[in-house]
């Protein structure tokens, strides 16, 4: 799926632009230890966690984009995401809704493949 389609369909606010435009998978969790253990690469990660460690974890796991389903994102997290060229996106919806919409996009793509 194209990141620009996801941004449009979920009405996301772009805080940082990443370098990967085409994303294959998605993952939802707020516990970074579990993300480190399980998140797939080249994915969108949906979380409420906004501690700066999220950017390091995304880098480590080669996660392409982070959607934060909370209103406020600290400035230092945005700065770090820009440095690491990771998409940092804000959603007004909760993690369940955002995940559901992305799940549907991925399912539809599979059907059309």
């Amino acid at each position: 799926m194209l990141i620009k389609d996801v941004i449009k369909l979920l009405n996301l606010k772009v805080y940082s632009e990443g370098d990967n435009l085409n994303i294959e998978d998605a993952y939802t969790s707020d516990l970074l230890s579990i993300v480190i253990a399980n998140a797939p690469k080249n994915s969108i990660w949906i979380t409420v966690q906004k501690h700066i460690n999220i950017v390091a974890v995304a880098s480590l796991k080669e996660i392409s984009a982070i959607i934060i389903t909370e209103d406020y994102i600290p400035e230092e997290v945005i700065k770090k995401a820009k440095e690491e060229k990771i998409w940092l996106l804000g959603s007004k919806e909760d993690s369940f809704t955002a995940s559901g919409k992305i799940f549907k996009i991925l399912q539809d793509e599979k059907i059309h493949d």
Partner: protein, 247 residues
């Protein structure tokens, strides 16, 4: 022997036997000479605990176990009640206004030195304050306190379980490992922690758990500046050992 992580009746998960009096008396019997009561986001049993500790000739630090918005448990300590109170005011103000359900979570009981009930905390304490780890560390430092991540090896509410790893630039003079874990094993698994100083405290919720594990410090006085020296091995202050009580 030092045990700086003990819950009282004020923590909903703490046993109703954990009055400041019982805690201090039990610690005295065990030969523990330096304690702190660290209730979840709460401080109202601190003054009786401190007064009783003084009576029994034990060292006491004003403490609180804060749950940050990342759901990390951070132990905070201060030499003075006014400093603890400043930090608690900020933590408590940002604690969601959800009423405790004693049948489900347990009672949150405030006691005096003689175990008389002074009141009940109505807000649910077992919850995250809307304060970030960074902001908490900042206000603790501004109030001359220290912050120690609790049970960092734990699968729940530990700094590693919640945010993946201990930020390398963080101000933590010590990291607490739980009674069940071994420092060496942890460093084998996470070599980036090898230059950190570790402590172990009981996290007691029941009387028989007090001093279950403890830390032995080389200190002149039971104070924050002394602990800070021990964290840097300065002026002969140091962490001598962390141990489990033999039962």
């Amino acid at each position: 022997m030092t045990d700086l992580h003990i819950h009282s009746t004020l923590s909903p998960c703490g046993s109703l036997e954990m009055s400041p009096k019982r805690i201090v008396e039990r610690a005295k019997i065990l030969g523990i000479n330096f304690i702190s009561i660290t209730d979840h986001n709460a401080i109202k049993n601190s003054i009786p605990a401190r007064n009783l500790s003084k009576k029994y000739g034990m060292g006491y630090l004003y403490g609180m176990e804060v749950q940050t918005e990342e759901e990390i448990h951070i132990l905070t300590y201060f030499d003075n009640y006014s400093e603890l109170l400043n930090v608690w005011n900020m933590v408590y103000e940002k604690l969601p206004d959800i009423e405790n359900k004693p049948d489900y979570f347990g009672d949150q009981v405030i006691l005096d030195e003689e175990e008389n009930i002074v009141g009940f905390e109505e807000k649910l304490l077992l919850n995250s304050s809307k304060i970030s780890l960074e902001d908490l560390c900042k206000i603790v430092q501004e109030n001359n306190g220290i912050a120690i991540p609790a049970h960092i090896d734990s699968a729940t509410y530990g700094i590693i379980s919640q945010i993946g790893f201990v930020p390398h630039d963080s101000f933590f003079p010590f990291l607490e490992i739980s009674c069940e874990h071994k420092e060496k094993k942890l460093i084998d698994e996470l070599s980036y922690l090898k230059n950190r100083k570790f402590v172990s405290f009981s996290d007691a919720h029941y009387v028989n758990e007090i001093g279950k594990c403890y830390t032995i410090f080389e200190l002149e006085l039971p104070t924050i500046p002394e602990l800070l020296m021990a964290s840097k091995d300065l002026n002969k202050r140091k962490v001598t050992d962390i141990a489990r009580r033999q039962t």
